[in-house]
Symmetry: C2
Subunit: 317 residues, 2 copies
């Protein structure tokens, strides 16, 4: 039996469960897990998930068909595709229509002592990366996805809207390109944290929109963030929609068309890119950790994660 933090029938609770069983998949003992806004949103009822929460983790393989994996420290891609459809064959399992997603869709997650994933989803963690860094691999990969979608050079003026966990990670990743980067947010303490990482940061109240940024990355998750993005972006510029919105948002479509703006939705990214940034010390994630709880205190940890000013909260099984 094992402990797991579950969301079922509208209730968040700690449960004792049998170890997960999925034939042919690797069994991973979770050593550290991270709470994401998506977990909070699931508990608020926005998604339609029921089961063990959590998709950010680092752990050790305890069982696998491939013996060489056993005992290895790993992180894991969270999307598991069918392996046979057009998207899977293009290596886009994250867009497989029949996919399940760790702790998000049809698959128990990482807020547990053990999880299972296909061995092909697992990536070995280099020794240079400790657990407190490796646990950021998933959200850091999501930030890296932007660089798959937009080419950035030192000639580009870029703004990230949102100083939360996601905005902070994105700013750190984008800063590695050498572009002229500004982070915009509402919270002075978080803006200071970005400055400490070498990122220019500006309070939202001080922003004078001049429609002259080449790329705007929306990571606030609010409709007002999207509107601000359109106020900041230059004609023919690129707005990356990075954070989750719920329901419909109002879009000033005429502005998008007249100014020939490009809006790009962006979700998951490549773990290899994230691990490389961590191993090379190009992105420092540990200052983003606000607190760490035992898994047994998972309900309290989820509450903490929703408090104002809090960034990453970790869970230790």
């Amino acid at each position: 039996m094992m402990k797991a933090l579950r969301f079922e029938q509208g209730q968040l609770r700690l449960a004792d469960l049998p170890l997960p069983s999925r034939e042919g998949e690797a069994l991973v003992r979770v050593t550290l897990a991270g709470i994401c806004n998506t977990d909070v949103e699931i508990v608020r009822g926005y998604a339609n998930f029921s089961g063990t929460l959590g998709h950010e983790f680092v752990g050790v393989v305890e069982d696998a068909t491939d013996n060489s994996l056993i005992g290895q420290r790993v992180v894991g891609e969270i999307n598991a595709g069918c392996g046979a459809c057009d998207e899977c064959l293009r290596n886009h399992a994250r867009h497989c229509r029949r996919r399940n997603v760790l702790g998000i869709r049809g698959r128990d997650g990482a807020f547990a002592e053990y999880l299972r994933l296909p061995a092909s989803n697992l990536l070995l963690v280099p020794d240079a990366i400790n657990d407190h860094q490796a646990v950021f691999a998933e959200p850091l990969a999501a930030a890296c996805a932007i660089l798959e979608q937009v080419t950035l050079t030192s000639a580009h003026r870029v703004v990230v809207i949102g100083d939360g966990k996601l905005g902070q990670l994105i700013a750190r990743v984008i800063a590695t390109t050498g572009c002229d980067l500004t982070l915009i947010g509402k919270h002075e303490s978080k803006l200071e944290l970005a400055r400490a990482a070498g990122v220019k940061a500006q309070a939202l109240a001080d922003v004078v929109p001049a429609a002259d940024f080449d790329v705007v990355i929306e990571a606030s998750g609010s409709a007002s963030g999207l509107q601000l993005a359109l106020d900041l972006i230059r004609p023919r510029g690129v707005v990356v929609l990075k954070s989750t919105f719920h329901g419909k948002v109002e879009l000033d479509a005429a502005r998008v068309i007249v100014n020939e703006i490009k809006l790009i939705g962006s979700r998951c990214g490549r773990f290899t890119d994230a691990l490389a940034l961590l191993a090379d010390r190009r992105v420092n994630v540990e200052p983003l950790i606000t607190d760490e709880f035992a898994l047994a205190d998972g309900v309290a940890a989820m509450n903490k994660a929703q408090e104002r000013g809090v960034l990453k909260v970790l869970l230790r099984p």
Copy 2:
């Protein structure tokens, strides 16, 4: 003096005016002009324009600083930039913040016996192109803009939503790429017209959205068209927003993000591309002409342009 079809103080009327005077600009005698949906929208009060309507035209240069232009048959780029700002220096006068636009913003238009434009906006019309073809240069250029923004090959499955003037032109331009193209519309007669041009056309009522098109071009101008675009586009696909929307539209932002869809606003294009397609007989525009009126009957022509089933209505000064 000359006749001009003007929209002033909420009224559309024919007026007698002095010839337009703009120092240093070429004077063009308009031989044929086309009514665009934008003209109809201006008269409905959506834009904030006051003056002579019209931006689709072909004419003959009657006066210019460069004598070699005089007597030449021309069409003209409708955006006149300041010539000095960052956008103008990038050759994007259409995004100059101080631009004026023929018959749309701060500049009298083409529904008149004469108009003026900077000589640098004018393009000579090859002899192979007659006036009834050349008058389509502006909307055809707008259709060509899509090919500047998206690369299409025979491997791509593409859909155009909207069987009106714009959708018809776009479909004809897109068909030249050899991609697998479908036009979706509501009007059987217009779908037939597309079929006659060699384009697969499907009635909206028969569409079963399967989210498997690589590129969707929205040319219906309705919010339901945008929603249909999101229903048709595959993950990581491209939705081109081509037609004007008024006010805010509701966007299913979560879908855009989860499926990592790209939305691209698209407005004006290069006249050179349009003239090349016409000169090479690669696009046949004349079947899209529904009717032709004398400029003196301009008010009746504008009414005709708004009737159901009508495509292009021309005005002859």
